[in-house]
Structure formats: structure tokens, C-alpha cells
């Protein structure tokens, strides 16, 4: 992030690009947070002391006790257990949607960059239109029509992501497709798939990894916002955004039920963002460019 100061006159040609940035302190924190969240999502349901819907305390927002370490929620359910169960939704839905959208966008963007011509024109035209549609609006419209079921949520977020990924993937592949070794591969008679997968893809890993990270953090925020609006994961299941919504009245007593899910969302996204920053440090991309 720092780089050489622009305020000192430097001899031309001294700018060097590091192949792999050293793991900075913030990068370490980011990777740690990310690993913690993956662990929570993978093992959470097995670690949870209670079932999702089980009532363990009387009254709303029971204080912490040895039986429920983080107290109860607005219905007297165990907050810790619900957090552990919710991890799977918060990270899982976002990761599934991002991966799906990423694969679709990558395929479309790469193919458009390699084939060019009319196909490329059609793809860019389609992308321009899709990208001028506010994402939250698209999601709300689809949910208004189909209802907030898990496949609809994953599909909608994947669709929203794919257009953004396709644009970046196309731009990255355009640059690489013009290089000589790709030209040679084409002349050798390699198939379209082979050119894309064996020549272009290996040279686009870094910017694509950064893009994946950005999309993932976006998906986590988007999903939790939908759940907060009551249009995401439906009760009795809940992701962290939905838990904030349900327990928002406990905020005024500082109940852990409202604060912990909010903090966990923040830590998850922060972990992804810090990792992305570290990944991007060696490349020319700035985190800001494709943040949204």
C-alpha cells in the first residue's frame, strides 16, 4: 500500500514490481480471520451445544450463563448455538454464489476476449445493461416474484456477480490474448478450451484471485443485508444478518444476541478484505477499482 513516496524525485525505470508480496502484519490478520470463519462454517453445527430452535432460557435476552455462554436471544434460544449454525449460511451461501457466478463470468469473459467479433460485442452490450441495474433492486425484484428460497438467493447473487466478474475477466484476458505465446498456441491448432485454460488462465491467476476475494466480501455483505431486510434466510434458520434483524430490539440493553452476529459479519468481511489487499499489493490493481 505504501510504495515509494511520490514526493522524491527518482531516476526513471527504478519502479520494480514484486512477484509475490511478503506476508504483511495486516495480511496475516486477514488470513487468520478467514481461516477462523472457514472453521466456524465447517465445524460450527457440530460444536453447537444446542439445536437451532431449542429454547434454553426464559424470557427475552437472558444474560450469559454456563449453560448458554452468550445468553439468550429474543425468544430465549441459545445465541452461541445459533451463531455457530448461522456461520454455514453467512459464509456458505456467499461462497457458493460467488463461486458459481465466478465460473460463469470467467467462462463468458474469457470466451468473449478470445473469440472477439460479434460474440464479444453481444457480451459487452449485455454486460453494460446488466451493470446499470442496481444489484439490490434486481435481488428484490426476483425475490418478489419467486420468494426467498435458498436456490433463488444463491442463483440471484451468482447472477449479479457473474456480470461483474465477466467484465474483469474479459479485460484481463484481452491483454493476455494479444501476447505472442498465445498467438503461437493458436497457430499450433490448440482448441479454444485449451487456449483459454492452458495459455491464458495461468497468467491471469493473481488478478482473478483478487477479483474472487472482492466478490466474496461483497456477497457476504449483500446476503447479510438481504437477511436483515427479512428477505434472505427465513426463520427458524438464521444467518448472522437475520440474527441482527431478529434481536435488534435487544440492542438497547446491549444484548450479545444483537451485537455478536454484527461483529462476526464485520470480522469475516474484514478478513477477506485484508487478504485481498495483501494479494493485490504486488499487482497494479487497487482494491477500490472493482469494490462494488
Amino acid at each position: 500500500m505504501t510504495g515509494p513516496s511520490a514526493w522524491t524525485a527518482s531516476a526513471p525505470g527504478t519502479r520494480t514490481r514484486r512477484a509475490r508480496p511478503p506476508l504483511s502484519g495486516l495480511g496475516r490478520i486477514g488470513l487468520g480471520l478467514l481461516a477462523l470463519n472457514v472453521l466456524l462454517a465447517a465445524a460450527g453445527p457440530y460444536l453447537a451445544p444446542h439445536a437451532v430452535g431449542e429454547i434454553v432460557a426464559r424470557g427475552a435476552f437472558a444474560p450469559a450463563s454456563p449453560a448458554s455462554l452468550l445468553g439468550g436471544d429474543y425468544l430465549g434460544r441459545d445465541v452461541l448455538s445459533r451463531l455457530l449454525h448461522g456461520a454455514r449460511y453467512s459464509l456458505g451461501v456467499a461462497a457458493a454464489a460467488t463461486t458459481l457466478g465466478f465460473l460463469a463470468g470467467l467462462t463468458g469473459g474469457f470466451t468473449a476476449a478470445e473469440i472477439r467479433g460479434r460474440f464479444d460485442l453481444a457480451v459487452t452490450w449485455l454486460l453494460d445493461i446488466l451493470l446499470s441495474f442496481p444489484p439490490i433492486l434486481l435481488a428484490l425484484l426476483v425475490i418478489a416474484g419467486l420468494g426467498p428460497t435458498l436456490p433463488v438467493l444463491v442463483g440471484t447473487i451468482a447472477f449479479i456477480q457473474s456480470a461483474r466478474v465477466a467484465r474483469v475477466a474479459r479485460a484481463v484476458a484481452m491483454g493476455i490474448a494479444a501476447l505472442e505465446f498465445v498467438e503461437v498456441a493458436r497457430a499450433r491448432g490448440e482448441s479454444l478450451f485449451s487456449v483459454l485454460a492452458r495459455e491464458i488462465l495461468p497468467n491471469a491467476v493473481r488478478p482473478l484471485a483478487v477479483e474472487y476475494g472482492l466478490r466474496l466480501s461483497y456477497a457476504v455483505l449483500f446476503m447479510s443485508s438481504l437477511s436483515f431486510l427479512g428477505l434472505g434466510i427465513q426463520p427458524p434458520e438464521a444467518d448472522w444478518g437475520g440474527m441482527v434483524r431478529q434481536n435488534v430490539s435487544g440492542l438497547y440493553y446491549g444484548a450479545p444476541a444483537a451485537i455478536f452476529p454484527a461483529v462476526l459479519i464485520g470480522l469475516l468481511v474484514l478478513g477477506v478484505n485484508l487478504t485481498v489487499d495483501w494479494l493485490a499489493a504486488g499487482s497494479d490493481r487497487h482494491l477500490s477499482e472493482e469494490l462494488r
Binding site: 500500500m1 505504501t2 510504495g3 513516496s5 511520490a6 514526493w7 524525485a9 527518482s10 526513471p12 519502479r15 495486516l26 453494460d128 445493461i129 446499470s132 441495474f133 442496481p134 444489484p135 439490490i136 433492486l137 434486481l138 428484490l140 425484484l141 426476483v142 425475490i143 418478489a144 416474484g145 419467486l146 420468494g147 466480501s217 455483505l221 447479510s224 443485508s225 436483515f228 431486510l229 427479512g230 428477505l231 444478518g241 441482527v244 435488534v248 440492542l251 438497547y252 446491549g254 444483537a258 454484527a262 459479519i265 464485520g266 468481511v269 474484514l270 478484505n273 485484508l274 489487499d277 487497487h286 482494491l287 477500490s288 477499482e289 469494490l291 462494488r292
Partner: protein
């Protein structure tokens, strides 16, 4: 230049038309019987058939779309399914509220973010620059509703200086306006600042690497002069672009923020209508949000042309 603007306008209108098809398709062709939704599961098939006919839902899709579109263009927005009142009346009350909120947030956010970005670029690598980067990264790692709730916790619950809700904002008096808008506007500010700060910093630092800046530095121009007169004008195009993008983002950010503070704007109306499947209201609010979004991107294009002489004289 006029030609360029006209062609952008044409593109905007074309996009808007495609949007109208998408909005209509998403809400009309999808499954779910409207008559059943209104009358309930235990209604008789005859009653449902009558209602379907009365609402014109038995007509072919293309005819309904044409009627809907021409109605929209004439200002006839139809009736809300839930309340049976004209959509135009419901929307009219809300649209000003949302515009006021978004405008206040934009007026606060844009100068502040560009200013901080410039300061950051003036002292790259300084403690100020580093801490600003970390703080803004933490803030955008939180969803808007969390930022909003944290502000409520701090300013309304702990310090008790502001109300936590803005359900019935009092716009007639200045204190009422400030009380109603401060928390929602601050939340929106938090959600758009990082992007603009980072882009301003990056764009200015990028220009600073150019030889002509080194020339200015060597001839002894002051730091301030280099930053404001030499670097900023050439960094303006990407900054304007990001500003417009984020103003567009304000348009969708208000949806969540209005729900957090139960602010009576278009965003909350949209969420409520989606929950009750009040399709006519969803369609109209959806089109309003799309139009605002397109107008903003259009404005960004036009401003970018004005700030970049090389584009200004393009054929």
C-alpha cells in the same frame, strides 16, 4: 461534444427501456397467482376468476406490458394491490423524503472523501495515511445496517443526543430536520466514503509518478500547488467516475438505511411491498430507482467529458 451527449442520452433511454422489460418480466411472468395472493387461499375459483378479469390479468403478456408502459408514461401508475390506493399517491409522499436523505448524504460525503483522499495522497505512507486506510477498510467491512446500529448504540442509546428512529420526520423545522437526518445520513456517508477516498488517493498518486510532476517539483513549485494545480486536474476523470458510481450506490444504500431507521422513504416502501408482493408498487419504485441510477451514470459521463479536454474535442 453535443453529439456525444446526445448519443449517451440515447443509450440511457435504451437502457431504461430494457429495464422496463426486465422489471415487468421479473414481477409479472414469474409464478404466483396474483388473485390468490389478494383474496387468500380459501377464496372460490369464481371470485379469483372475476378478480383476474377485473385486473386485466387474463390478457396476453405483451398486451399487459404495452398497457403498463403507456400507463407509466402517462403518469397513470395503477393501484396498489394491498391498499387499493393509487400508487402515484403512495410514491409521491415518499419520494421527497428519499431525495432529501440522499442529497444530504451526498453533500456531506463527496467533499469530505475527496479532501481526505487528497490529504492522504499528500503524505503517502504517513501515520495519517495508514490509519485512514485501515479505518475506512474496517468501516466498509461492516454492512450498512451494522454501521447504522452501531451509530444508534453510540449516539442514541449511550449519549442520548439523537432519536434512534426517524419514523415521522419533522421537516418543517431545522432542528427537526437535523434530528431526523443525522443518523441515516452518517450511515450512508460511512458506506460510500472508502471507495471515493481510495480512488482519489490512488488517482492522484498515479499522476504524481508522471515526469511533468517531477519537473514541477524540481523547478521548486510548492507541494500544495503541485497537488492542486498540477496533479488534481489530471486525476479528476477517474475520481468523477467513482463519485458518480457511489452516488448511484447511495440510491441502493438508502434501501437498507431506511429500513434500519424506519425512515418513510421509497426504499422502505420497496422492501415492504416486496414482502407483501404488492407488485404494482414494486414495479413503480423499481423503475424510479433504475431511472435515478441511470441518470447518475449519465451525469458522470457528461462531467467526465467536461473535465477531460481530450474527450471534449473527440469527433
Amino acid at each position: 461534444m453535443l453529439k456525444l451527449i446526445v448519443s449517451r442520452l440515447g443509450l440511457g433511454v435504451a437502457t431504461l427501456w430494457v429495464m422496463s422489460v426486465l422489471v415487468f418480466a421479473a414481477t409479472e411472468i414469474l409464478p404466483g397467482d396474483v388473485a390468490t395472493a389478494i383474496l387468500g387461499q380459501e377464496s372460490t375459483p369464481e371470485a379469483r376468476a372475476i378478480l383476474t378479469k377485473r385486473l386485466g390479468l387474463d390478457r396476453p403478456v405483451t398486451e399487459r406490458y404495452a398497457r403498463w408502459l403507456t400507463g407509466m408514461l402517462r403518469g397513470d401508475l395503477g393501484l396498489s394491490l394491498a391498499t387499493e390506493t393509487p400508487v402515484s399517491r403512495i410514491v409521491g409522499l415518499r419520494i421527497t423524503n428519499t431525495l432529501v436523505l440522499a442529497a444530504v448524504a451526498a453533500v456531506l460525503a463527496v467533499p469530505l472523501s475527496i479532501g481526505l483522499g487528497l490529504l492522504s495522497a499528500a503524505y503517502p505512507g504517513s501515520p495519517f495515511d495508514k490509519s485512514l486506510g485501515v479505518v475506512s477498510l474496517i468501516v466498509i467491512s461492516l454492512p450498512e445496517f451494522v454501521v447504522g446500529l452501531l451509530l444508534v448504540l453510540l449516539l442514541a442509546v449511550q449519549l442520548k443526543v439523537l432519536p434512534s428512529m426517524a419514523t415521522t420526520p419533522d421537516f418543517a423545522s431545522l432542528p427537526g430536520l437535523v434530528r431526523a437526518l443525522t443518523l441515516p445520513a452518517l450511515t450512508l456517508l460511512a458506506s460510500v466514503q472508502a471507495h471515493m477516498i481510495r480512488m482519489t488517493r490512488a488517482a492522484v498518486l498515479d499522476v504524481m509518478r508522471q515526469p511533468y510532476i517531477e519537473m514541477a517539483l524540481l523547478k521548486g513549485a510548492s507541494k500544495r500547488r503541485i497537488l492542486l494545480r498540477h496533479a488534481l486536474p489530471n486525476a479528476l476523470a477517474p475520481i468523477v467516475n467513482v463519485v458518480a458510481l457511489n452516488l448511484g450506490y447511495l440510491v441502493s444504500g438508502v434501501v437498507v438505511v431506511e429500513v434500519v431507521f424506519t425512515y418513510p422513504g421509497l426504499g422502505r416502501l420497496l422492501v415492504d411491498s416486496v414482502a407483501t408482493r404488492d407488485i404494482p408498487v414494486v414495479q413503480v419504485t423499481g423503475m424510479i430507482f433504475c431511472t435515478a441510477y441511470i441518470l447518475l451514470t449519465l451525469a458522470a459521463d457528461v462531467v467526465a467529458v467536461f473535465t477531460n479536454p481530450r474527450l471534449r474535442y473527440a469527433k
